[in-house]
Symmetry: C2
C-alpha cells in the first residue's frame, strides 16, 4: 500500500521504508516515554498499515491487540522496531528472524558505543543479520520518517503532529536525509520543514551493525521521490557502497549535500567512541566528495538553504546575479556577499535600467544592486522588477534582499508571483533581513518560494548551485597506465626501493623520467658522463639510505669529467664510512634539470577509501599554506588537470607575473599515470612521492628530480 | 524626564536620544503611511514627553493639537522629525532653527543619493546645521529607538508594539546599534530582540549631512546604559570622530562588534551612490578595526550571537571549552566547530569524568565532548553536569549542544539554572540543533540565557569573546622616531627620491640601513671597495630611473676590484645610453647582504584614515597568497611585533622546519620606525617601500636591500 512511486524500480529496502506492517517490540502504554512515543507518532501520522505492539505485560495498548512475542503475531511483518533493554535485543531479533520479519530497527542503546561485552552483542547482531537475511538498522538508531508514505518509525519529537501548526509546504521537489546521528538527522528535517521544504525520508543509521549510511544513501539515489539528498555523516563504514551510490548520484544528476563531522582530532576521537565509527581522514573524504560533485557544508542551516534553492529553483545557467532590495544598505551587503561567493553582479544594460527606473522613485537605483526603495513595494514596482529580471538574458539568478516580517501583508501578489516562479526560468532566492513572519512564509509558500533568513547562506546556496550546474563527473580513464612487468614488481614485494628502483618502476608505468644512468665503477661513470651534458647531478643509491642528503649523498652542479670522477669516489667512500652496513647500488648520474615550477606529486592509501593521489606546489612557503589537492586514485588526465587548477597557487603554473606558462598538459599526464600506477598496484604500493617535479614551459615537459615508491612491506602508515 | 542614567556625564546628544518634546513635521492622520506611523509608534511605545504634530492641513491628529508650523508651537522643542517632500525640507529646517529646535531628524529621501540639485540641497542642510548649531540627522534616515526611554523616533515596523507577543528579555547588559542603513540597523534590533537581548538605542544615520555614525558611536561609548556596541557601516565620513571613539571604547573596555559592507567593488560602487558615502578600501578599515580590538563580522545573526554571548556571560579566562550534548553527533560536531574556531576541547581529568559518569547512562561519554544522552536530561544529569563544569577549573567556558524545541518542557530547572548563570563564572552558551521553541526561549530567558540557533555562530562568538578578553590596546609609541633634519626634507618637497636619497632619509629617521657608499668616480669607487667586503652589489642611482633593473642597473655578486671597476664603467655607460636625459647621482656600492627571510615593509596613505603601514612576506608565492597585514601608522614596537605575528607565514620567522629563528625584535623596531616616519611626515610622504628586507637570525639584525620613499608631489595614488 505504501508502494514506491511508479517510476522507481523495485528495491530491497522498499518494504523497509514503506512497510505494510510494523511490530513494535517493547511497546508501552506510557505515551511520554520512548516506547510509547513510537506507537503514538506512528498512529498520529496516519500510518496506513497494520501495527502489532509486542509486550508480554499488556493484552492491548490504546485499542490495539498486544502480543506476548513476535511469534504470536502469525502475520507477515515488514518491519520490527525494537526498543527493549540491550541485553534482551539479540533474543528478540532471533525471534524476529524465526518469524520471517523482513527488517528490524534497533532503537536501544548500549552496544558498540559502550565497548567490551556490549560491543560483542553488536557483533552478534551483525552476524545474525548476515545469516538470516533479515536486514537490521541500528542499534542506537532513531528510526526513520517517510513523509509521503506517512510512516513515522521514530520517537523523534520532530515528527509529532501539531494540529495548531499546519505543515508549511513550499516545494514539490523533495529532499531525502541520511544521518548516522538521529538527533541531528531529525533536526535537519525539523529546520527544513520549518522553511517549508518537502521531504521524502529522514533516516538515522545509528551504529550500523548491518544496514549502513551508504546503503540508505544508495536508496535515496535510486528513489524517484527524492530529488535532493542531504547527508550528515560522522564516518563511513561501507565505503564501497557509498562510493558506488555517489557515482550513481553524479551520473543521474541528483544533487548531494553533505555535512561531514568528526573532522577535528577531538571530534574524530568522539566519533570513534560514540558509534564506534571511523571518522577517518578529512582530506580523503573531501577528495571523494569533490570527485562526485557533492556540495560540502559545515552548517545545518546552510545545508538546508542550499537544499531550498535546489528544490525551488532550476540550476542557474551562469554566475550573473541581480541583487534586488528595498534597503540601500541591504543591497550593498547583498552585492558584497554575492561577490565574496564568486558571483558576478553586473551593471544592467541601459535599456533594462530605464525599464526599472520607470517602476521606482528617483532616489532608488536600477544599476545592480537594484534598490527599488520601500516606496516601490507599495506601488507594485518590486513584482514588476522581478518580472523584468526573470525575462532578461542579462542575469542568471535573482537574489531578493527584503523585509518579510510583516504579519498581515507581503510585498508580492501571489497570483502574479506563482506563474513567474512556476516558469522555472532562473533561481529566485528570497532573503529577509528582518525575522521572517509565519504569514510571509505561508503566503510565499503558495507561490513555491522559501524564505531564507541568512544572506550568507543565500549567497552560498546560489554559488553552490552554479558549481553544481557546472559539475561533470570525470571520465574514469582517459590515459592508459602500462601494466608493470613482473621483474619490476619483484622489488616491491621485497620491501624497499631506492630512487633508481623507483624511477625504473615509474618509467615502466609510463611516467616520463629523466635520462639518468646508474654507475657502479669509474668506467661506467665515464660512459654515463659522455651520454650526459654538464652540469651533472650525482646521487648515491641504496635501499638502505632513503635520505641521501643526510649523509651528503647528493651532489649538484658538477661541471667537468675530473670533478665527476672525484665526486664518484667521494660519494662511495662517504657512504661506506657513514653507513658501513648499507648495500650500495651505485651512483645515479644525470644532467641537471632545467629550471621550472616546483611541484610535489604523491600517492598514499587512505584507511577508508584506499589509494589517493595528491598534487601540491613545492617549496617551503607552500608547505606553510598547505596548498595541496587530493583525489581518489586513479584519475584521468582531465581530472588531474582539474586538480592542478584547484591549487591556490595554480596561477604560478599559468604564467604568473610574466613568467612562461608551464607545461600543464605534460604535468596532468604525469599525475594521471602516477595515480593509475598506485591504483593498479594498491596491494603492493603504499606510497609514491615525486618531489620535486620541475614543470618546464609549455611543450618542454617535466623533470622528476627525485622519486620514491614505498611498498607496503616497508610498514608505512596509511595516512600522512 | 528621559534623563541619561546617573553614571553618564552630560553629553550634547542626551536630548537627541532622550528628548522631552518632539515635533513631527509632516505628521499625518493616515496611520498606514510613514508620517502616520511615526506618530503611532511614538505613542504606542509610551513616549513620556510632549508631542507636537505639525501639518497645516489638520487642526488636530488623533486627539493631539496639530500646528500649522513649528513657529506656532511656542514651546521648547528638543527634537523635530521631518517627513515632508525633499524640496520643502530646507525651509522647514530653517523654521526649526529659528524656533530654537535643538535637534532634527530628516526622514525624507531624495538628496545626495540622487545627485545633482538634490545633492546641493543636502549641502545647504549641512551648512544650516553648522551655522545654526542645530544638530541634524539624515536626510534619508530612519530615525532611532531608545528602549529605556521609550522613544520610538522612527517609522520602522520593528518597534511596533504587539500586545500578543510580549517583549522577551534575557539580558541585563544592553547593546547599542549604530547603522547608516535604517533597514539593516532595525533588522539587527529585530533579530536581537527576538533572541531576548536588551537594547539601549538603535540609530540610523542615513546620509549624515551633519550628525554622522562616528558621533553616534561616540555617544554609545560614553553612555552608561550601553554595554556592547554593534555597528553596521557602509563607510565612514567622520573618521577622526570615529577613531577617537574607537580608542575610547578600547580604553574603557566596551566591546564593539562591526559589520562593514561595501567591501566588494560592486558593493562599494553601490555604497558610493546610495548614501554618497565613501566605502573606502577594506584593508584600511580592517586595520583600524584590528587596532582597536573591534570584533568584525559579515553576518547579522553572527553579530547578534556574539552580542548575546558578550551580554549574557563574562569574558572567558581562557580557550578551554566543555562541549555538553544530548546527541553524540551533535557533540562531535560541536567539538569540530570549537576546534575550527581555535578553541581547545580538552579531555576532562579522571576525577571530573568520574563525577560526570555517575550522572549519565553507561552509553554516554564524560570525556569531552560530554554526551550525557537524552536519558540524563530526564534524570537531571544535564543540570548537574553543567554545575560541575561551571565550578571546575578545567574549562573556561561551556557550550551546550541541545534540542530546545519542546513547546511545554525544557531540560533545566530555572530556579537552579539562574543562580548558576548569575554567578557569572564563565560563559555558558546555549545552542539548539532543532528549531528553538518560544517556550524554551522564554523559560531560559528567566535564567538570563539566550538560545542560539547556529552552532557555527556559537563557536565564533566564544572565540571572539576569547580574543576580546586577550585584547590590549597597543601603547601609542614605545619607540621614538628621530625628527628629520630640514636638509633631508628638501628632496621630499622637490618631488622625487632615488634609492640613495630614500635610504638616507630612512637612516636619519632611525631605520637601520646597510653600509653603502654613493660613488661618483673610479677614485671614490676604490675607497668604497676598500671599506666593503666582497662580493659586492652595485646599483645605478638617479631619481629619473626608479626601476633600475629595467635598464640592467643592478649588478650583484661582484667578486674583485677589477670586476668592480668594469661594472662601474658599464653601469654609467648603460644609463647614459638608455636614459640619456637622466641626471645620474652615481653608483651605490655595498657588501652583498647575508641571507635571511625576505620581508616587504611599506606605507601608504588611505583616503579615509591617512597613513597605513604594511608588512608582508616577500617572494612570488606570498604575493599569490596575499599574506600582508596593515595597521594605521604610527605603530610602536609591540604593535609591529603583533603585525608580524599576524602573518600566515609568521612561522617562517619563528624558525620553520629547523631554520634559525629570525631577528623579530630588530624587524619590529624597523617596522615601527618606518611607520613613525610616514606618520610624522604624512603631509610630505605618500608611500614608503622597503623591498626586500632580509631578516637575519636572532641578534644579527636586518638588511634593507632596496628602499624607496615616494613624496606626494610625485602624484602617487592613495590606495594600492
Amino acid at each position: 500500500m505504501n508502494a514506491p512511486t511508479a517510476t522507481s524500480p523495485a528495491h530491497a529496502l522498499d518494504t523497509f521504508f514503506a512497510p505494510s506492517s510494523i511490530a513494535i517490540i517493547g511497546a508501552s502504554r506510557d505515551a511520554l516515554k520512548i516506547p510509547g512515543l513510537l506507537l503514538t507518532f506512528l498512529r498520529r501520522n496516519g500510518f496506513p498499515g497494520w501495527i502489532y505492539p509486542v509486550n508480554p505485560n499488556y493484552p492491548n495498548i490504546d485499542g490495539l491487540a498486544c502480543y506476548a512475542s513476535v511469534a504470536d503475531i502469525k502475520q507477515p511483518i515488514d518491519l520490527a522496531i525494537i526498543i527493549i533493554p540491550a541485553r534482551a535485543v539479540l533474543d528478540a531479533l532471533k525471534d524476529c528472524a524465526a518469524a520471517g520479519v523482513k527488517h528490524a530497527i534497533i532503537i536501544s542503546s548500549g552496544f558498540a558505543e559502550e565497548g567490551g561485552d556490549s560491543a560483542a552483542m553488536q557483533d552478534a547482531i551483525a552476524d545474525l543479520a548476515r545469516k538470516s537475511g533479515m536486514r537490521v538498522s541500528g542499534p542506537n538508531a532513531e528510526g526513520f520518517y517517510n513523509e509521503l508514505g506517512q510512516v513515522a518509525a521514530t520517537f523523534s519529537p520532530t515528527v509529532d503532529v501539531k494540529p495548531d501548526a499546519p505543515r508549511l509546504l513550499a516545494t514539490r521537489r523533495r529532499i531525502g536525509i541520511v544521518a548516522q546521528s538521529g538527533g541531528i538527522g531529525f533536526a535537519i528535517y525539523n529546520r527544513a520543514r520549518t522553511l517549508g521544504l518537502a521531504l521524502s525520508y529522514v533516516v538515522s543509521a545509528g551504529n550500523e551493525a548491518d544496514l549502513g549510511a551508504g546503503e540508505f544513501f544508495d536508496y535515496m539515489v535510486q528513489d524517484a521521490a527524492t530529488d535532493v539528498i542531504l547527508l550528515f555523516l560522522e564516518g563511513i563504514r561501507d565505503p564501497e557502497t557509498f562510493v558506488a551510490a555517489a557515482r550513481r548520484a553524479a551520473e543521474v544528476g541528483k544533487p548531494v549535500i553533505i555535512v561531514k563531522v568528526g573532522r577535528s582530532s577531538v571530534g574524530g576521537r568522539a566519533a570513534a567512541s560514540h558509534t564506534a565509527s571511523m571518522a577517518g581522514w578529512s582530506a580523503a573524504y573531501d577528495a571523494v566528495f569533490a570527485k562526485y560533485g557533492f556540495i560540502v557544508s559545515d552548517d545545518l542551516d546552510e545545508a538546508v538553504a542550499i537544499a531550498a534553492v535546489l528544490t525551488t529553483s532550476p540550476l542557474p545557467k551562469g554566475d550573473r546575479v541581480a541583487v534586488v532590495t528595498v534597503s540601500g544598505g541591504g543591497g550593498i551587503w547583498g552585492a558584497d556577499v554575492a561577490v565574496a561567493q564568486g558571483l558576478d553582479v553586473p551593471e544592467l544594460s541601459a535599456p533594462l535600467q530605464e525599464a526599472i527606473r520607470a517602476l521606482i522613485p528617483s532616489y532608488g537605483s536600477p544599476r545592480n544592486p537594484i534598490d527599488i526603495t520601500a516606496q516601490a513595494v507599495h506601488s507594485g514596482g518590486l513584482q514588476k522588477t522581478v518580472d523584468l529580471l526573470s525575462q532578461s538574458e542579462e542575469v542568471d539568478s535573482i537574489l531578493l534582499v527584503l523585509s518579510l516580517s510583516n504579519e498581515t501583508r507581503i510585498s508580492f501578489k501571489i497570483e502574479e508571483l506563482k506563474p513567474l516562479l512556476d516558469a522555472q526560468r532562473k533561481p529566485v532566492v528570497f532573503y529577509t533581513y528582518t525575522v521572517p513572519s509565519q504569514f510571509a512564509r505561508t503566503e510565499l509558500a503558495k507561490a513555491g518560494a522559501v524564505v531564507l533568513s541568512s544572506l550568507l547562506h543565500a549567497g552560498v546556496a546560489l554559488s553552490r548551485a552554479i558549481d553544481r550546474a557546472r559539475f561533470r563527473i570525470a571520465a574514469l580513464l582517459d590515459c592508459d597506465a602500462k601494466p608493470l612487468p613482473s621483474d619490476l614488481l619483484a622489488p616491491l614485494k621485497k620491501g624497499r626501493l631506492s630512487e633508481y628502483d623507483s624511477k625504473r618502476l615509474l618509467a615502466a608505468a609510463g611516467v616520463p623520467m629523466p635520462q639518468e644512468c646508474l654507475v657502479r665503477s669509474r668506467d661506467e661513470l665515464r660512459d654515463a658522463v659522455i651520454r650526459s651534458s654538464f652540469p651533472l647531478a650525482m646521487k648515491i643509491q641504496s635501499v638502505d639510505i632513503p635520505h641521501k642528503s643526510d649523509i651528503g649523498g647528493v651532489r649538484l652542479g658538477i661541471a667537468s669529467g675530473q670533478e665527476a670522477d672525484r665526486t664518484y669516489d667521494d660519494l662511495i667512500a662517504r657512504a661506506k664510512q657513514q653507513r658501513p652496513d648499507a648495500t650500495l647500488q651505485g651512483v645515479l648520474v644525470g644532467t641537471m634539470a632545467k629550471p621550472g615550477v616546483e611541484i610535489i606529486i604523491g600517492t598514499l592509501q587512505d584507511a577508508t577509501f584506499g589509494p589517493m593521489v595528491m598534487v601540491g606546489l613545492g617549496g617551503i612557503t607552500t608547505e606553510l599554506f598547505r596548498d595541496v589537492v587530493y583525489r581518489p586514485a586513479p584519475v584521468g588526465v582531465g581530472e588531474a588537470a582539474a586538480m592542478l587548477d584547484g591549487l591556490k597557487a595554480a596561477p604560478l603554473l599559468h604564467g604568473f607575473r610574466g613568467s612562461a606558462e608551464a607545461d600543464m598538459e605534460a604535468l596532468a599526464v604525469l599525475v594521471a599515470r602516477v595515480s593509475q600506477l598506485a591504483a593498479r598496484h594498491r596491494d603492493l604500493i603504499a606510497e609514491i612521492e615525486l618531489n620535486p617535479v620541475l614543470v618546464h614551459p609549455k611543450g618542454e615537459g617535466t623533470t622528476v628530480v627525485d622519486a620514491l615508491v614505498v611498498p607496503f612491506a616497508n610498514g608505512s602508515s596509511n595516512v600522512p
